[in-house]
């Protein structure tokens, strides 16, 4: 297995805040890897170190086989970054933006123009190709932003919260684009606060908590970590009354239902019992488990 990203013991401190406290990451080539965490967990700092924008205080990282500190230019020749703020030139048109990136990536003028036409077609921006980007909607800007990262093929594509601020439709569109890139063999490293996004897109997920990887694995492995199914009891209005984890066996299920019986709320009129698979939300809460942890739903809606 070759590693597209191999980070060991990354530390970074800003003033008195330790943002990364010994981060280890191993991302196999050709996979989609999601770094999941709430605001302030250190996701962007991690991306900034891996894309050579800032230096780690300690630890080392290799991206596409090159050291991010010692061989920054070699790394830069093999990656592209779509950051949180849309990195597009608002005064230029979409075509001019793509052509500029193409020229800066070593394409000839002719190649850059034909690449621009193809990319804008793929991202459904052809109709707006001649318009200044300043007039674009958030979703269009995001799509152009991603297009700019794909002007030339890269080994590792970094996406920092690619769908933050997008409506559901644009988000789903972007997901399918990211998936198809991964199918072409590009390693995609993305950060997200959305559990669903990590679940849908990523081959492997690392949960970042207080500057460290708190857990890592496939979505399935992470869910398995907190056991099997969850038995839940809701009242007539659908309000969740009780959640009981079970191990997924008949015996475990019976034990859970027996326990429900003993609870006074179980006799509430119109109560409904159901069984569900644990969600990544459950995993997230179980792993990060902080007294003052904001609920994932709250993080998402932010």
């Amino acid at each position: 297995m070759t590693l597209a990203i191999d980070a060991r013991g990354l530390r970074k401190r800003f003033g008195r805040t330790e943002v990364l406290a010994g981060l280890d990451l191993a991302v196999p080539s050709g996979t989609v890897f999601a770094l999941l965490g709430p605001n302030g967990a250190g996701k962007t700092t991690t991306i900034n170190i891996l894309t050579t924008l800032i230096r780690p205080d300690a630890g080392s990282a290799r991206v596409a086989g090159y050291d991010v500190v010692e061989q920054g230019d070699d790394v830069k020749r093999r990656i592209s970054l779509t950051g949180q703020a849309a990195a597009v030139d608002e005064v230029l048109t979409a075509t001019e933006n793509v052509v500029m990136m193409g020229r800066l990536s070593g394409l000839s003028r002719r190649e850059a123009h034909s690449r621009a036409a193809a990319l804008l077609e793929r991202f459904e921006l052809t109709d707006a190709a001649g318009r200044r980007v300043g007039t674009y909607s958030g979703g269009m800007r995001r799509r152009l932003d991603l297009a700019l990262s794909l002007v030339v093929p890269v080994s590792v594509l970094f996406l920092d919260e690619p769908t933050t601020g997008l409506d559901t439709r644009s988000r789903k569109e972007l997901w399918s684009v990211i998936r198809s890139l991964a199918d072409d063999g590009t390693t995609v490293f993305l950060t997200t606060q959305y559990l669903e996004e990590a679940d849908r897109l990523a081959d492997r997920i690392a949960v970042l908590d207080r500057g460290r990887v708190a857990a890592e694995g496939t979505a399935g492995e992470l869910k398995a970590r907190i056991g099997g199914d969850v038995v839940e009891l809701r009242d007539a209005d659908g309000l969740l009354l009780v959640e009981l984890p079970t191990d997924g066996t008949v015996h475990g299920l019976r034990a859970a239902i027996d326990e429900l019986d003993r609870l006074p709320v179980a006799s509430a009129p119109g109560g409904v019992v159901s069984i569900r698979r644990p969600s990544l939300d459950d995993v997230f809460l179980a792993i990060t488990d902080r007294a003052a942890a904001p609920a994932p739903e709250l993080i998402e809606s932010k």
């Binding site: 070699d74 950051g83 800066l104 700019l148 030339v152 080994s155």
Partner: protein, 264 residues
């Protein structure tokens, strides 16, 4: 475990590809910001008319003030134009685009070069307009072609120097608004020089400052060349100052670019 790259690496760029791409970008920015472009020409022209028609008679009732003041207006005009560079650079820094450039294998000065060259072109155009208006309102230079060329060279060098300085200030400023503020301070320098009144007429304590600040030799050099007066060592000092400012700004700018880019 060794990592291998799947995709071919980006090819190394030709000698000045990045620079010419960024110059084209900044030129488009200049041309599309019609209001700023208009202001960069209108403001110096208005200043010029103000100094010749309103202050001119009070300062020199014989009417010869226009010959004295045009070189000063040219420098003031260069300063205005250059200060807008600080804003453009600062704006680049506060949007995400600078991070995209910084994650590409580009020379760190290339983006700045784009801004500086576009500003130089914009400024030389404004300067030409100012000189044309000056000629209309009675500016009568007595320079030959060689002196014109020399004056043009000094003006261009000065614009380059102050533009590069403003580009670096744009990097240092935390917001585009702050960049405007810093620009204002520097725009006062021409007033404390021989641009509008001879240094001898200033209070004694101010004279050394006015005498030895960089703008005075630049002004005197342009004035001497255009009015066909003895140049003395003014051209030499003007060149020395400008080259020094460019050198400091280039080094400072490159350092700032590496250090500060990406703050948000």
């Amino acid at each position: 475990m060794t990592a291998t790259a799947l995709a071919p690496a980006r090819p190394r760029l030709g000698a000045l590809t990045a620079e010419s791409t960024f110059i084209a970008r900044s030129m488009r920015h200049s041309l599309r910001d019609v209001e700023a472009l208009l202001m960069s020409v209108m403001l110096p022209v208005m200043l010029m008319l103000m100094f010749t028609w309103i202050f001119g008679n009070a300062i020199d009732p014989s009417g010869g003030y226009v010959d004295y003041v045009v070189p000063g207006i040219i420098l003031l005009c260069a300063g205005f134009g250059a200060s807008s560079t600080a804003v453009s650079v600062s704006r680049d820094m506060t949007t995400g685009i600078i991070d995209r450039f910084r994650t590409m294998p580009l020379r760190s000065g290339a983006v700045l070069t784009g801004h500086v060259v576009a500003s130089l072109v914009r400024n030389l155009f404004a300067t030409a307009v100012v000189i044309a208006v000056g000629l209309l309102v009675g500016f009568r230079p007595s320079a030959g072609p060689l002196e014109w060329l020399g004056a043009f060279g000094v003006v261009a060098l000065y614009i380059l120097a102050i533009t590069y300085l403003f580009a670096a200030i744009g990097l240092a400023a935390s917001t585009p608004e702050a960049a405007v503020g810093y620009g204002f301070i520097l725009l006062f320098l021409p007033y404390v020089s021989s641009a509008f009144v001879p240094v001898e007429t200033m209070p004694e304590w101010l004279q050394p400052i006015a005498e030895y600040q960089p703008i005075t030799p630049v002004i005197e050099a342009i004035r001497a060349l255009l009015m066909d007066q003895p140049v003395g060592d003014n051209v030499l000092w003007a060149v020395v100052w400008c080259v020094a400012i460019v050198a400091v700004s280039v080094v400072w700018g490159a350092w700032l670019f590496r250090r500060k880019a990406g703050r948000r």
